[in-house]
């Protein structure tokens, strides 16, 4: 691929990500904002793949679009008034927003210049190797501890969710009673 196509792909993806993210942030319509995230996530996945991180890109879609976004929409449908009356939503928090933006920007700018970015190979060269097995080997050798800690955290969250969903023991006993009487 020549340079023109490279930059074309990058700018299209960047435009999709930034445009849809801006819509998510500034839209007053909660459901539309959530749907707009679909394009953000896909654009981001495209950028990851553009940088040669195929596994990260695909995982981004599986986890964020297939899991988190569906769950988010499920939740939004419960919270928003179905009859279409606007939900009150504070879109702008100027002071904290600008502070956060400046700190994040100062943090990201040096990283953007330090990192040796690898991009998709040229037409003549071979395709990039899949990054799946290096990531898998890395997770089970060098980064085993962080990996296990993350899984432990998820397990705690799972158990917590079950405990919350089960409710208080007293309520539970009453519910069980109702169940048997219904039978």
């Amino acid at each position: 691929m020549d340079a023109l196509l490279h930059s074309l792909v990058f700018y299209i993806l960047a435009f999709i990500v930034l445009g849809s993210a801006a819509y998510t942030a500034f839209s007053a319509n909660l459901v539309r904002a959530a749907f707009s995230l679909l394009f953000t996530f896909f654009g981001l996945a495209g950028l990851y793949i553009y940088l040669g991180a195929d596994f990260v890109g695909i995982s981004q879609v599986i986890i964020y679009v297939g899991g988190i976004l569906v769950l988010l929409l499920f939740g939004v449908m419960f919270t928003t008034n179905v009859s279409g009356q606007g939900t009150e939503k504070q879109t702008l928090q100027m002071k904290w927003g600008i502070l956060f933006l400046v700190v994040l920007f100062l943090l990201l700018i040096p990283i953007a210049f330090i990192t040796p970015w690898s991009v998709m190979p040229d037409a003549g060269s071979k395709a990039l190797e899949s990054s799946v097995s290096p990531i898998g080997v890395g997770l089970l050798t060098k980064y085993l501890l962080p990996f296990e800690i993350a899984s432990l955290l998820l397990l705690i969250a799972l158990i917590g969710a079950v405990v919350i969903a089960r409710g208080e023991p007293k309520v539970r006993a009453e519910a069980a009673k109702e169940d048997t009487s219904a039978l």
């Binding site: 459901v31 539309r32 749907f35 599986i62 297939g66 899991g67 976004l69």
Partner: protein, 348 residues
Amino acid sequence: MAYLKDLLLGFSLFQALPISVIYILTAAICAVVAIAAIAVVALVAVWFERKISAHMQCRLGPMYVGWHGVLQTAADGVKLFVKEDIIPATADKLLFILAPGIVFVGAMLSWVVIPLGPKMAATDLNIAVLYLLATSSVVAIGIIMAGWASHNKWSLYGSMRGAAQFLSYEIPTALFIIPPVLLAGSLRLGTIVDEQAGGFLGMGNWYVWNPFCLISFICYYVSTLAETNRIPFDLPESESELVSGFHVEYSGIRFSFFFMAEYADMFIVSALGVLLFLGGWHGPFGINHAFIYIAKVCALLFVTIWLRWTLPRLRIDQLMATCWKFLIPLGLINILGASFWMILTGKV
């Protein structure tokens, strides 16, 4: 896609163009082929479904348009094209128009990696199996969008059920895909199929003969039935209670997009099942041909249709219980079993 690129470069006309234009051209050709494939598959599959269902109920089904009604779906398609396009007054117009497109794009994205025969995929991606898991989620988003935008209680119920169902059944689908991937040691569909070549009568190395992969195959099939909203798991559009669920407000060409996407999805999950478990295009006695592969996919499609006209619909709580209390634990145990199998047979 590489083959197509070389083919284009073979013409002197295209050699003058910059390589980027050639890339865009090949991508465009692949996209057109994908759309055409979806249309053809939907056309044939709908006719199959109507004929099979009719014969199962001692009817004849479509008989008048063409030989045994073979052109009936084409006629219906033309009818859908010229129908009035109705958008409900209270609908969220933008999302209402966008939703069928997103569902269709979700189905189309999968076609990029699904081969139609040996070396006949648009691109033989080295993480194709993961890619297919990712693209299937787009369809779910489209279904939720359609249900929400229609501004109709039935649609909303349908799409909420769709969200819950999809979210749950995505997990067992992924879990049951893992054993063949483990055995083949690759996420590339071409490699997985090649690993299944040879053996007894040319069929002995199909992964379906491995006990853990057999469990995988059956459970993968069950979960994909739920993911593609087929009976007995078609709760998002259950006609008897939700009229037709998430697409109740859609008519004309927009409805046909949902319809085509459903059949395209059916074909994709059947094709993936064939590629992962039934040896892909490796037929008996070492015959490799695209027709063998298509025949196997059609056989799986027939089973899907057969189930639809045989089984009653599950309740939503039964559906969820099947997934969380049965399929997911079984999937985890199955992966463990497949790993032990690999160690004991010395494949690691």
